[in-house]
């Protein structure tokens, strides 16, 4: 019973980091979504120059460990603007995720049959209109399963902002472990918490996927 009591007290403290973890993940996913969709559009519909810019971004960022990108951007951001570690860390994580999301959305955009674009242009839509109201809505739904996978990866990678001092789950856990001198229980509690979080996320994303699946 003693161990259970310990575990509960520990969890109580770590859970205060839960919201920060969730927010880091959400901000990073949204930033990554913007970068990902924009660069995917550049790669599929852009001219040669934009296509190359977007490709270099995706290829280079995906070849470098996320933690290295977080370090670089954290120091670059700190040089020019005064952002909190939370924002700087989330932005950096989002910038990294954008490269992976770029691949996902590029695949999805290319999976929308070319006839859709032709048909949209034939009824008088401009290219931008066709992309915005015909191709993109379908592509986003096609991208859902892969995007959900990326979302759980970002959730797990959000522990990496710990290195720039964001008080998320892992940093909280370290604080508990230093105070109680019971690292096994502290990290055990953190693992349980994460396990719950990823299982919940997968369930939710599964539901979203079923809800918005396209029958093609």
């Amino acid at each position: 019973m003693d161990i259970l009591q310990n575990l509960l007290t520990t969890l109580e403290f770590i859970i205060q980091g839960l919201w920060i973890t969730v927010w880091v993940t959400v901000v990073a996913l949204v930033v990554g979504l913007v970068f990902g969709v924009l660069t995917a559009l550049m790669r599929v519909y852009g001219n040669r120059f934009w296509r190359q810019v977007a490709t270099v971004y995706s290829v280079v960022i995906r070849a470098v460990p996320v933690v290295v990108i977080i370090f670089i951007l954290f120091f670059v951001i700190a040089e020019y603007v005064n952002l909190s570690p939370f924002l700087a860390g989330s932005l950096a994580l989002g910038f990294a995720s954008g490269a992976y999301q770029s691949e996902i959305f590029r695949g999805a955009l290319q999976a929308v049959p070319a006839g859709q674009m032709t048909a949209a242009r034939a009824i008088g839509m401009s290219k931008v209109q066709a992309i915005w109201s015909i191709v993109l809505p379908q592509a986003l739904r096609l991208a859902l399963p892969a995007w959900g996978n990326e979302a759980t990866l970002v959730l797990k990678d959000s522990t990496l902002v710990f290195v720039v001092g964001v008080p998320e789950i892992l940093r909280r856990t370290q604080q508990v472990s230093a105070r109680t001198n019971e690292p096994f229980i502290a990290f055990g509690a953190a693992m349980l918490l994460y396990l719950g979080l990823t299982l919940l996320t997968t369930q939710f994303l599964g539901w979203v996927e079923r809800r918005y699946r396209l029958q093609m």
Binding site: V60, A63, V64, P65, V66, V67, V68, I69, F71, I72, F75, V76, E79, K156, D157, S158, T159, L160, F162, V163, I169, L170, T173, Q174, S177, E182, P183, F184, I185, A186, F187, G188, A190, M191, Y194, L195, T198, L199
Partner: protein
């Protein structure tokens, strides 16, 4: 420019040392991952119900929690209950167990995509189940799993970058020391990014060759 070249001259020797450690970590962890993932994948598909369940729990835990927490659990948590590892042992073990969980899942996918008729046919000509798996199913599954597996190998090169947080002197660990020594974090982490870029690039080219060699000729999709 002069300044940058000087910095480069100062940090590259240490970063190269770190690169050796990173490559070593990736290679050993991958090998450990295969040693764990292969039996785990087979057990997940062909084992008795209880074994399938145990392996399922192993995979869920290691795929459902962040690598960094797993690493801290092994290095800081386990000594608390009397199991102590050195830095390197903790790094190898965590990366190996983590990779093993993913590799087991990939192998399961490959095993299941080998058509069921193959097993039936092997049994019909008198092979035991073990024989059929070893000489009919597994050789095909291993070739099918190779492309996914080579992605995992490249990912492993990148995953190793977190072990500097338990003070293993890998590429990233050396970078951190150099950044503090020369007060030039941005330049040094950029150089490190280029190092990783080159490592991943080379690994990609090598693995693509291997994949091409091992491809099952003319095969697309399911093996019937």
């Amino acid at each position: 420019m002069q300044e940058f070249l000087e910095l480069l001259g100062n940090v590259v020797p240490s970063l190269l040392q770190g690169t050796v450690v990173t490559l070593q970590l990736a290679a050993v962890s991958l090998a450990l991952g295969v040693a764990i993932g292969l039996p785990a994948g087979l057990g997940r598909v062909y084992g008795p119900r209880w074994l399938q369940r145990v392996i399922g729990v192993y995979i869920t835990v290691f795929q459902g929690t962040p690598l960094l927490i797993q690493l801290f659990m092994v290095y800081y948590g386990l000594p608390d209950v009397g199991i102590t590892f050195s830095r390197f042992a903790a790094a190898y073990l965590t990366l190996g167990l983590n990779s093993g969980a993913y590799q087991a899942e990939y192998l399961r996918g490959a095993l299941q995509s080998v058509g069921e008729g193959q097993m039936t046919a092997a049994r019909a000509i008198g092979m035991s189940k073990g024989q059929a798996i070893r000489s009919i199913i597994l050789p095909q599954a291993l070739r099918l799993v190779l492309p996914t597996w080579s992605n995992e190998a490249i990912a492993m090169l990148k995953y190793t970058a977190v072990v500097f947080l338990i003070a293993v002197p890998d590429l990233m660990g050396q970078a951190k020391i150099m950044a503090a020594k020369y007060f030039a974090p941005i330049a040094i982490y950029m150089i490190v990014a280029v190092f990783y870029l080159v490592l991943v690039g080379i690994a990609y080219l090598i693995l693509r060759q291997v994949e091409r060699r091992a491809q099952i000729p003319g095969l697309t999709g399911e093996v019937e």
